[in-house]
């Protein structure tokens, strides 16, 4: 036949234990495939991915002088790399090793019909034989790597990741939206299950990040644009107008002391006050103030200017403009963290209008020694020390009908901690915790819950139906499902363990970085089990609660993991590119530019001078959208040509 290469293809059918062989009649498949064209050698084995299995493939490639190999087994996501490597070791071009998925797409989905599953397995393999017969040996290019990382978000996740990467010898740009790094952890009082003070364990890390010669902290800044690809990202970061020239500012604090305008402090969840020129808390890193333009008298009424007059080094500059800084980085870690679901969304819990029904972060501020009450637990409405406190878990979590379907994962533990700290502070006080069930999976976590119970915290299994102001009490109506009776508690303070949600800026950042978020707005990992730190974009990694709710130990572990990924990437000087991408037959290309408009990865471009479309190989993901769009069939996927695809279809119909 003209144009058809004479190929000797080896087919290796895997039993995958009983996964495949339990449903598909493997022996019949081998016999049927052996009769197909190109099939030079066909065999089966219990576990093809095992060492003996791989050895057999390597041996047979040499013995039978095979031109291509098909492993009929699981999804290529799992073991394509394994078998390509095995093929390469036997001298075969790795791109002439293909997988026919007869597990996920056949055996697993046709467990009830063994006969049909067996026939389908033969069809899947025969289709793949047609592809392999036309596979080209491919080799990829490589690109240089910028060994410099960007970490987005300066909470404990971002700080840890930045420190790990910097300690490994690489430069890090750490971008933080707020005036200081520290994130939510800086707001916390003490941490479960050891009750060590959050400030005491976090601030040393903040200082270390601030002082590290290879970490550049860009606080009060946000990422606005990102282009490029793994190893070669170009990022535009906006340094927001702070009203203070930080290069001059010494952090003396006289401006904050003398500023006449007081506003509710976001850091204290509205329970404390800050000035219009402020840094969020005394241990801030960098310890430089910013001006809140919504409230500052200079910006709102064009008067005052006290801070400018008092600043000895002349750092206050009302006319400072936002500035765009461009950075070249090779890898990005997204560590943007979480927000709490707003109490306003829970009408049944008072819709945020009851002053003494506060969210759990606000209660952390009441517990914190550096908080608005200096660690004394005083309720917001009248400053009274509450004698009865009701904690309501799953406020907005585990409520698929109306709020968030997922478990926020850390509330069982921090509520236990909060109730315990309350009892330590108010000895005669009564703490109640409404819970659905206690999720205390973690080292020493269950023991911690037991300890709280032994210290007198009362756990009530059931949900709260309504919370309302009742004179100077806050009445909580709920149910005790163990006693099977309704419960009514007239409390002095109610703490709502609000659901953790992704940051409001997540969607914007998702678009900038071209990564994916899930149905709940959290960033999606590349694979939930096998690649939980990566994203669908190579070179971009995840750490912390931006991916899913998690506690401090898990966050720090994940951040170190993501840092490890970056360090691993940076250990190479050049990065091999996947050759499974498109190329252009310039004789056929008319330069219409359709491919440019359909490419989701910005990988196609029109060479206007020559009127030819070109492929930016480092960006191409090989999705094939341009090949479909090309009216002249000038765009060709290197190992997924139209001819191959048609032959594959012919084989199954």
């Amino acid at each position: 036949m003209k144009g058809v290469p004479s190929r000797k293809i080896g087919v290796f059918v895997c039993h995958c234990g009983k996964n495949i062989a339990g449903i598909v009649d493997v022996k019949r498949v081998v016999a049927a495939v052996a009769r197909l064209p190109y099939a030079a050698f066909v065999t089966d084995y219990k576990y093809m991915c095992s060492q003996p299995g791989q050895d057999m493939i390597r041996d047979k490639i040499k013995e039978e002088k095979l031109d291509a190999v098909i492993v009929a087994a699981c999804t290529p996501n799992l073991h394509e790399a394994t078998f390509r490597k095995a093929g390469a070791e036997a001298g075969l071009n790795p791109y002439c090793v293909e997988m026919a998925n007869i597990r996920e797409q056949c055996a697993w989905v046709h467990q009830g019909d063994k006969e049909a599953a067996t026939r389908k397995a033969v069809e899947i393999i025969s289709s793949m034989i047609q592809k392999a017969a036309l596979d080209n040996p491919l080799s990829g290019d490589s690109i240089a790597i910028t060994k410099r990382a960007l970490v987005i978000g300066g909470g404990v996740a971002g700080i840890q990741a930045a420190l790990d990467i910097a300690d490994a010898g690489y430069e890090v740009v750490l971008v933080e939206r707020e005036p200081s790094i520290g994130g939510h952890m800086a707001q916390l009082s003490e941490t479960f299950p050891t009750l060590d003070c959050a400030q005491c364990i976090l601030t040393p890390k903040m200082v270390a990040a601030g002082a590290h010669p290879r970490i550049r902290i860009m606080a009060w800044s946000e990422v606005r644009e990102a282009t490029g690809f793994v190893g070669n990202f170009k990022v535009k970061i906006e340094r927001k107008a702070s009203g203070v020239d930080w290069t001059k500012c010494t952090g003396c604090g006289i401006c904050m002391e003398k500023c006449p305008t007081t506003v509710a402090s976001e850091f204290d969840r509205g329970l404390g006050k800050r000035k219009a020129i402020y840094s969020p808390f005394p241990q801030a890193v960098p310890n430089k103030p910013v001006i809140d333009r919504q409230h500052c008298l200079h910006y709102t009424k064009n008067k005052c200017g006290i801070c400018k007059k008092l600043c000895e080094v002349g750092a206050v500059d009302f006319d400072l403009n936002p500035e765009i800084v461009e950075e070249d980085v090779g890898a990005i870690i997204v560590a943007t963290g979480y927000d709490l679901y707003p109490t306003e969304r829970l009408g049944e819990y008072g819709a945020g209008k009851i002053p003494d029904a506060i969210d759990s972060l606000a209660f952390e501020r009441l517990l914190s020694a550096s908080g608005p009450t200096a660690g004394e637990i005083r309720r917001p409405s009248d400053g009274k020390i509450p004698e009865t406190v009701v904690f309501v878990q799953c406020s907005g979590s585990r409520d698929p009908e109306k709020h968030k379907p997922y478990c926020s994962r850390i509330c069982c533990m921090y509520t236990t901690k909060q109730a315990m700290l309350y009892k330590h502070s108010v000895h005669n006080g009564q703490a109640y915790i409404f819970y659905i069930d206690i999720r205390s999976g973690g080292k020493n976590y269950e023991e911690f819950v037991e300890r709280a119970q032994s210290e007198g915290v009362v756990y009530i299994r059931g949900k709260v139906s309504r919370i309302f102001q009742n004179g100077d009490k806050v009445t909580v109506m709920g149910v005790d499902t163990l006693a099977a009776r309704p419960v009514r508690i007239d409390a002095d303070l109610v703490v709502l363990a609000m659901a953790m949600v992704s940051r409001s800026t997540t969607e914007e950042l998702r678009k900038i970085l071209k990564i994916i978020t899930d149905a709940n707005g959290f960033f999606t990992e590349a694979h939930p089990k096998m690649d939980p730190l990566g994203t669908t974009t190579r070179g971009i990694y995840l750490a912390g609660c931006g991916q899913a709710p998690r506690d401090v130990p898990d966050t720090v572990a994940q951040a170190s993991g993501a840092a490890g990924k970056v360090i691993g990437l940076f250990s190479h000087d050049r990065l091999p590119l996947d050759p499974m991408i498109v190329c252009v037959d310039e004789e056929l290309c008319a330069g219409c530019g359709l491919c440019v408009s359909v490419c989701p990865y910005d990988a196609r471009e029109l060479d206007v001078k020559r009127k030819k479309a070109i492929v930016k190989e480092a960006l191409c993901k090989g999705c094939g959208a341009c090949m479909v769009a090309c009216p002249n069939s000038a765009t060709i996927h290197r190992n997924f040509s139209k001819k191959q695809i048609l032959k594959m279809i012919d084989a199954v119909i």
Partner: protein, 308 residues
Amino acid sequence: MKIAYYPGCTLKADARHFEESAIESFRALGIELEELPRWNCCGTVFSFATDNVMYHLAPVRNLLRVREQGKDTVLTLCSMCFNTLKRANKLFNEDAEKRDKITGIMDNENLVYDGKTQVKHALELLRDEIGLQSLREKVGQGLKGVRLAPYYGCMLLRPDGLGIDDAENPTLFQDVLRALGAEAASYPFQGECCGAYQTVMQPEVVGERTYVLVDGARRSGADAIVVSCPLCAFNLDQRQGIAGRLHSDFDAMPVFYITECLHLALGLGFKEEWKRLHHVPVDAFLEKLHRSQNVAGAVKRQRSNIRE
């Protein structure tokens, strides 16, 4: 404007004043309620039985009657009718299997319902057709000087998405009362259960509920409770006798239908025969309203005298 009107059973019996006040008030507002020439029981409650669609036949038949009149919207006054008809309608439109079954049962009568009837409650009509701002202008002084506690009960608000307002934090009833010139009391029990049919077998249970609800309304400074459901009205009004027996600190409070308030606010008065349908006497309330309006009227007259 004319609108098809579905009364339901109680409005022809113990809640005659609910119907009369509604028909007359809406007429004064330019809306003619046209009672369906044929109607049957609404089904009373929406049935949760998944395997017996017979229970949905009654509401669907009523919805079909609306279409037979060439109308696409039906008004209900009773919250229970509103809820049953609207939920059956949703089921009919969204569950193809049950729709086919229901249609199949009515097959030999040559009846086919197209699912296109819209069910509206009187409060929605006030909001969407008349508009609360224009209602406010129409009533003038209205109910100035009294403080009313709205009681939604369960049927107006649930299930979420089907009700007339947000199930957890509703405001429509309050907004309507304010538009009528009254002060609207805010208390936490406005969407709590009234005890419903427990009133038949366990009246004490309902008496206990009534105590909590009426007491809550009283603490919020209300002069009366306003409802839109005959069962709520029965439980909150009639069962105040039991509430009083159970709790010595209980103070009785009159209970009105929203349309009685509308009637009063529009200056159409309060009929003597309606008083007999109330358990807790309403005279003191009407007296207070009368007095405050006279005071307001006197002040107004005084002002205009001064101007002259």
